[in-house]
Symmetry: D2
Subunit: 337 residues, 4 copies
């Protein structure tokens, strides 16, 4: 951490703020320039709240030198984290292919889709039981019944299930029955939920918030990991920008950036990124080429009658041919799907 003091800060003030920082167990190296005075803070600054320093009248700005996340930081754990989901691995060269409908609608629907995506190569099944909808008047998911149906589909296919949790009220059920617990973009900074998920050991799929920076995403992972749960899979699902033709803007650079900053696996959701079914294919391909550890794709056998997100779902046969192409791209970049 580097603290920039205002021009004209007196020696007394420099001594005062220096002592104040040293009290927190840090060393201070002072650089006095022509126009500005800089304090270099040496030691573990992750627990120093920069806003408190900024509240001092003599402080112009505080610059962060080190990332504030520690357990999620590749600097402190250079090797890739591999998350194990009932034997299905993701990260460190293992590609996770998660597919399924936006929401679970019926036993026939979920089992049919599960069988179909498994045949095409999916390694996990997604399906929403609790749905975060912008409107209170939209379909909110089958809830508990949806979870029951997911379990039936798991039994029928052996695919581990991935589904979203929206409240700590359901934590016990999810901890028991769900293989990968998803935290949606809108809950990425629902810190109470993250803390609770840190107390269990189930893998967590943490989606990047619509306007979350890389650092904020990793700090949310840090919340879970600080509780002792290191099984975190990150997911880029499009960010909000000025462009409104697409639902969101897929930030494909998130893949190499997150891989550099962190050891956690990062997967891509091409369905929510674009919000249009015909964009799923090119975005999925881009993700694999850029080195993603996995994909989560919405597949529906009857998009025009889907209870949600039909416009961004692809049909099973489209998914099947897409997987074949993805395998070739993976091979071209030295990976395997």
């Amino acid at each position: 951490m580097v603290v920039i003091l205002k021009q004209g800060t007196s020696k007394d003030e420099i001594v005062k703020i220096t002592k104040n920082i040293e009290k927190r167990g840090l060393k201070v190296s002072t650089v006095v320039g022509d126009k500005l005075i800089v304090l270099g803070l040496i030691g573990d600054t992750s627990k120093v709240d920069s806003t408190i320093l900024e509240a001092n009248d003599c402080v112009e700005r505080v610059l962060h030198v080190q990332e504030p996340f520690k357990r999620a930081n590749r600097m402190f754990k250079p090797e890739d984290t591999i998350v194990d989901v009932n034997g299905v691995k993701i990260g460190g060269g293992h590609f996770g292919l998660i597919a399924g409908p936006c929401s679970v609608e019926s036993e026939e629907q979920i089992i049919e889709i599960a069988k179909s995506v498994k045949k095409s190569g999916a390694t996990m099944l997604r399906g929403g039981a609790f749905k975060p909808r912008t409107s209170p008047y939209s379909f909110q998911g089958l809830k508990d019944e949806g979870l029951d149906l997911l379990l039936k589909a798991k039994k029928a296919t052996g695919l581990p299930i991935v589904t979203e949790i929206m409240s700590t009220d359901y934590l016990d059920r999810f901890a028991n029955d769900v293989d990968v617990i998803q935290v949606g973009a809108r809950n990425m900074q629902n810190f109470e939920l993250l803390k609770e998920l840190g107390k269990i050991r189930k893998p967590i799929l943490l989606k990047r918030g619509l306007s979350a920076t890389y650092e904020e995403l990793l700090m949310s992972a840090e919340y879970i990991m600080a509780g002792g749960n290191d099984n975190v899979i990150l997911c880029e699902r499009g960010i909000r920008t000025f462009e409104t033709y697409t639902r969101n803007t897929l930030d494909v650079a998130a893949i190499p950036v997150i891989k550099r900053l962190s050891h956690l696996p990062i997967i891509i959701d091409p369905s929510h990124s674009a919000g249009k079914w015909w964009l799923v294919e090119p975005l999925a391909k881009a993700a694999v080429a850029a080195g993603a550890d996995g994909l989560i794709i919405e597949v529906h056998n009857d998009p025009a009658n889907a209870l949600c997100d039909g416009q961004q779902s692809i049909k099973p046969d489209k998914f099947d041919s897409l997987v074949q192409e993805l395998k070739m791209i993976a091979k071209a970049v030295g990976k395997e799907i």
Copy 2:
């Protein structure tokens, strides 16, 4: 709602989709142009999910004509909503002046600040007991003890208290003890929390999410109101943009826009908007001039030692002189503080 069909859509397909829409209780008026075919939907479209229509192969785009929110919509309730907080009114010409520290730190601190801001003209006391922090290693608030101290400050000054809820786990305590329950920007789309808040009758202060549109803010209000709780106060607290000099960008146009779209009161948080104490004054003035129904301002007696957000807090004497200036601006625009 207006549905744009693709060029070359056959008559049969038009008939099919028309029937499909009419099944939902709507009438359809068809306009056939040179290059495009347009279906105008007549009736209550608030319960039609446009994404389902978009999933049809023949649909090019769906355009929304009417806002999807109903209870929050000024079209259906033209007169301003006035929220009554233990006799302190806000909205419909009543200005709410909420002030206090970012977080409750001690009995002395909160009572001293409460007395001071009351003397300056504040009508409610703010203070965080549960703090949503980006880092798990930052101070998380005094929690239950913080609520106890707020109640002591209320007793000492008579000011109603405003504080943030972060989880449904604490709903009972908040419903009993807190006068205005705040939903933070990061929880604006925590729909499970919103639904629960719709079941009680306490006033809710709903903050706009960092990248939430006006419509999304109003849809989140609709979640609360759909449950029967109409006591919603909206709050613009800065949105996330490309400009990083300020913490966020205050969207001052939110005031007249929200007033046009909705009957709910809208207040401004100049402290979080800018993230710098020297910007609180000009932004608060701008808000009053633009017609805000209130302000929520962070005031701290010792910002340099505040446990959070010291850099954006102003001191009590600054707050006092600011209120005097705000009164004059309010007068100039025909209001009263």
Copy 3:
């Protein structure tokens, strides 16, 4: 400037990069921490290109401590710049009220509006002769004839004229006939144009680009000032964000921020900010309350038949009553309009 080196950078590499920097006439102070090494650069860093430093393998990041603009920087010229437009002053307590139609359409139109806005208190007349339009098929302005008509309106009212230049081809004519030469948001980084405007001495009204940071706006002013023309008036006219209900988002904080960073006057364009006539009034009021040095407002006597931007123009009588209200707000904040 502060240079962060990578963990594990060898002493030899530190010596090498240090010598490289010292060659540019700067001193280097080295801080070696547990995990990172920081070089503090002392001296005039405005001519050091940080991207060159970042190209070194051992460099993690370069942090800017000082602003890269010099002539526009308040640090080097603490007193406000007052721009004199044929005797009409703007900046340093002098409020500039610029009004007129989006585009000049006819002699009657421009003279009628000019007389009307002058009567209401405008100190300068705006009117587009060369119009930057998104579509090549839209009305592009009356061009030279438009300038002729503006001169007639100036003769009839005495109001100095403000109009936009779109190409260096017209520089001579503008330098002769126009009182304030406007650079539009889309040309804010048309550096060739800025350089040419630096060679003349006419006041320049420089609009902030749609996605320009404060620093970039001031660097564009620096281009003009580096050529010797210090008569620069800055203009905030709304930035592009994710919110599409309004045409742009007025960044009202730009007023106090620019005033802190620079001595140049800053005015607000509430018409382009919002793109809706009914938002002009509240945004203009907010701007005055926040301390703007002036306003530029689109006024049209027949908006529904205007050749451009009719939707964001207000009528002369509305402008007249608005000015009365603005005067009262100005008084409330210790200013005079």
Copy 4:
């Protein structure tokens, strides 16, 4: 175009605005719903200025149904445009690989790099002679001398040259000597420049502005094409978002979206998108996988001493190995590099 009228608009007003629209050669189909009245405009609406309609008091909103660009629109020209650059083709299955330094620095530098990138497979040489720099104090390019050196490199290698024009002052020289004239992101809406480029027949490389929508990019292409020059190559080079870790955010979805909306070739600039050399490789791969028609990559033989953008340039050997990998990805998606 669909015009939404306000609730309560009288029959007389509907008749008046309908006649007003019909005067422009369009037919109007009126849909009267419970709460709103909708006018469907039938015919060529590309020359109707929607802002004029919005200026009518009775108009609530105007919705665009058809894209406002015509010559650039795939609807009117379904087959891919293939741009021919002295025999080197781009678009319609032909991949353009443009490489070279950010700026031309010396004869040795540009010839060495040109030979090297040619050997690796580049089909065109890039190199800046006129450089748009944020700071007036940064290196501005060798200008005319830079163009001379590019011609020498062209002579030495046979590679067509791609370089940026910054002002119409140099149009004659560029029209004579340059093979592909680049319009930079900051000049994407420099309409006077675009109009002049429409009058010549040289291929134009048009870069997307930092905050330009797809539609605005295509409207800028339309400016060039409206003048008769159909040889336009579009380039996505990253957009400005809230994320500041990368210089810009590459919008990889721009590739399939532009291909759907337009017949023009679209290439990707992975160097400016990210602003970090280690991101060039994954972003280039993503672009090829998503179907880009080409790439423009900054290659420098000595990035740490480059006069500009060294931090985002890759070295020739890196470029060489990258091209080999890109060829395999291209093959996997049925293309050829």
